[in-house]
Amino acid sequence: MDESHLPRPIPPNDLPEPFAGWFAARGWVPHPHQQAMRAAANAGEHALLIAPTGGGKTLAGFLPSLIDLAGLPDPDAAGLHTLYVSPLKALAVDIARNLTTPIAEMDLPIRVETRTGDTPQNRRQRQRENPPHILLTTPESLALLISYPEAVDFFATLRTIVIDEAHALAGTKRGDQLALCLARLSILAPDARRVGLSATVAQPDALAAWVSPTAGPGDVRRIEGGGAVEPQIAILDTEERLPWSGHYGLHAAPEIYREIRKAGTTLVFVNTRAQAELLFQELWRGNEDNLAIALHHGSLAREQRRKVEEAMARGALRAVVATSSLDLGIDWAAVDLVIQVGPPKGVSRLTQRIGRAGHRLDAPSRALLVPCNRFEVLECRCAIEGLMARTLDGEAPGPGGLDVLAQHIMGLACAAPFTADALFAEIRASAPYANLDRATFDDVLRYVEDGGYALRTYERWRRLFHKADGTYEVASPQVARRHRMNIGTIVESPTLKVRLRKGPVLGEIEEYFATLLEPGDSFVFGGEMLRFEGMRETWVEVSRAPGKEPKVPSYLGGRMPFTTHLSDRVRAALEDPASWRDLPEQVAEWLRLQQWRSVLPPRDGLLVECFPRGDKEYLVAYSFAGRNAHQTLGMLLTKRMERMGVGPLGFVASDYVIAVWSLHPVEDVTGLFDEDMLGDDLEAWMEESSLMRRTFRNVAIVAGLIERKMPGTEKTGRQVTFSADLIYDVLRRHEPDHILLRATRADAAGGMIDVGRLADFLKRAATGGIIHRRLDRVSPLAVPILLEVGKEQVASDAAIEDLLDEAAADLEGDLVREAMGGPDGGGILHGELPL
């Protein structure tokens, strides 16, 4: 427990001994919310504690359990008393370490252990036979525990379940899985109390419902932690020329360095791993004082990340450049400055990241935002305003994933036989599945049972037996074993280890990036310049050697969406020139120029500019709906423009705008953005898009249709791979309504394709009206997006054929054969998996 516990005059310390003495010896008095949590425990109520980081939340969660356990007459016979679930393995391990201090100092007869993917087999075995009083674990390890028949005895004695960082789990697939596991725990230990711990969130009711065993917020006592002191936040007013486009912020590296030098310990947050690598390089290039600056991101080897975390905890570092890999986790009281490079993309994320500094309730957090381009200045400013107004963003969590449900049902069948009716009731008690209809549930159950295909000849192969007494049970021990090896809802992009020639593993890069490298290419990884030597059986071999123009690994996952709330604020700021006064002069001037040459985008409604440039016509829409929705919008706009005969050639999208270019100008702009756009075109495009294919692959892995690549099971050398795409194509063609395709569409619509947000935007444009400006040249506000042209590629069948044509045309000689007719036959394969 990181937190400092400050002496406060109230409330009175009514703790029992030895706790009262232990607190007093440290000059500590329990926080009011810690007392309130005890009161909830004494009343036997479920509780949700919402407090900013550094509020003593974790101790508040555990204190009642410690007091309860300390008072037991026969602790040895108590069994498992408290289960703690955290999204991070490292957090579970850290909490275990921190709990041992008070337990040892008060000489309490309490045994605390962790159980994660790293726990050795013999300790797991021992834990099953002789459970600790307090077990700290992750959602995945809990799901695995629940899949064993022994779960009935193991959890029977459970009194309290503590869910840490609940805000980071609710609304994700890991959260869906945890909610289902909690529903099962409510059957195994009906009296166990649930305690959620959360950072401040925009939707506290939804989070309370998520914590509740009945999916209703009413039966969870809500406790608010003390408010943190107002943070001190500024935007870096760069002396450099503020870039028009780009997202790396390298122009500001010398200024960031100066801030690091002035501060004690600095956390530098960036938004992508590529940006982390580049900025880290740039900081070291100017590191005249040899300051200890480290790098931390999710692709680095675990050992290396751990080293950085430990050095940070010891206070041995002056700065760490990190991605969201450090958003959660162990708290470092020593951090006194947080620098966010690039926009935070949401007010809540900014709040949490800033909360990592000055980790004391009485000390203000100090933070500096570094916009990477002009639009980002606006976004950063709006995020700060949001933060000061204590508004938060975030949608209420959506319905739970059907792939997660399928995995869970299989896990329960591995533990014990069940009936469909009882299982349905159990699942509906969890918030993500509270509105699940019976027909969908039955389809998922049938999928688990025998694949759920309409083709009847297939029914002889099954994973569950439906027995005469109406119960379902797992078909064989082999099926159960395979299931347990595939538990979990995190599906990583396929990666390859990066290993030094005759040396250690440095980390992992996405397979996709590895295939783009040629021997002799250099790339930046882990802050080093590496030379690609070649692919070995299952790894990428590299040596340390400087090279020219390094490539930067691309990571499919690194981009965070721009929240609706922040988008609203940015649009309001643009519309109101009075609010530009304190903007950097470069930015204010840019906006004034836009006002003069065109018009500013309205808060409601939509500005569309059209202008010629070179031999093309450009259309720029200031839609502010986020990159994902814009990608979808781009596909739909180009389809419509094709039908209008204007000859669309391509598009590019950012979080703020979308630009489409074509041979001829668009005449009917209002018709182009008509709300009925979300009809057949959307469906047709979605089905073909690579986003759907990627989503299907994830759904198929989580639902157990295809298996994960297991470490050690990869074939070496000659490897025949078999793509999830092939399965997608076959299933889509013959059973378009299969439950896994429904699950895929639901996931894609909510995520990468962001149909909901697109619909909201189209509605706003329709009600607010469309302002169409025909200009004779590019407007100031359109410059940034036009600079992105050529950096982004559009994925569609036609684009693939065009690229292949272009590649073939690059070749000398007569290799390019005449095109021949024929239907769509072959397939371009993505994301192959071994099968």
Binding site: Y453, A475, L516, L726, I727, V730, L811, M820, G825
Partner: protein
């Protein structure tokens, strides 16, 4: 279905052939359609082991062959082996899929060349079985390429695929591989994966280099070996 080109895309041992984007090969002079590695009932072979892949792979493969037959109206169809994923595949076929095969085999001179997955192709589905190789004019058809073969060999077995990059994007697809003397077809089956042509297992068969014909969505695109990516 757009127009049918009769322009040859490659020459093998002096014989003009058309590589289709479907993965089938057409020999206009002999009105012969050639497909490799159908792996019928591969889905159900996974299901048998507890992995319940969608069972529609056989009917997908069969309908793709039926499309190719409708386009070309061949007098003869040669399946280059591994047409059935295993010895029990024929018994697992859904009745209407078995009927579809009988209709296909009845529509032309249908030849099943035996492969390592189907050393004894089923006799109940029509067509005739060739256990070793079929020689016709300048070409010889067999399942797996011989280390030393006379020019004109057409085979399958290796499921070749290839990848290139263009503008930073990786494009990977099934492909034909040939050097003018020997041709390896891509796998035609709906659930057949691929092996990169740069893998020694394939590359060793072409000591003097090779060209690939990559299957695009609507066209076949030729590339020399130097343009290809590993993995």
């Amino acid at each position: 279905m757009s127009t049918i080109s009769l322009a040859p895309t490659l020459h093998l041992n002096g014989t003009a052939l058309i590589a289709e984007p479907s993965g089938a090969l057409y020999w206009p002079a002999r009105e012969t359609l050639v497909v490799a590695d159908l792996h019928l009932e591969k889905g159900s072979s996974f299901a048998r082991r507890g992995q319940l892949l969608p069972p529609y792979d056989s009917r997908t493969t069969l309908s793709l062959i039926a499309d190719a037959i409708r386009r070309r109206r061949p007098a003869r169809v040669i399946c280059l082996g591994d047409s059935f994923h295993d010895g029990e595949a024929a018994a697992r076929l859904a009745p209407d899929d078995a009927d579809a095969i009988r209709r296909l085999t009845g529509s032309s001179d249908w030849i099943w060349i035996a492969g390592n997955h189907d050393p004894v192709p089923p006799e109940t589905l029509g067509g005739r079985v060739v256990t070793d190789a079929l020689v016709d004019g300048a070409l010889i058809f067999r399942h797996e390429a011989l280390a030393r073969a006379a020019p004109g060999e057409v085979s399958g077995h290796y499921h070749p695929k290839a990848a290139i990059t263009q503008r930073g994007r990786r494009l990977s697809a099934r492909c034909f591989v040939e050097d003018g003397r020997r041709l390896i077809l891509p796998a035609f089956g709906a659930y057949t994966g691929g092996l990169n042509v740069l893998d020694p297992a394939i590359a060793a068969l072409y000591p003097n280099g090779f060209r690939v014909h990559l299957l695009g969505p609507r066209k076949v695109h030729g590339f020399p070996r130097a343009r290809l990516l590993r993995a």
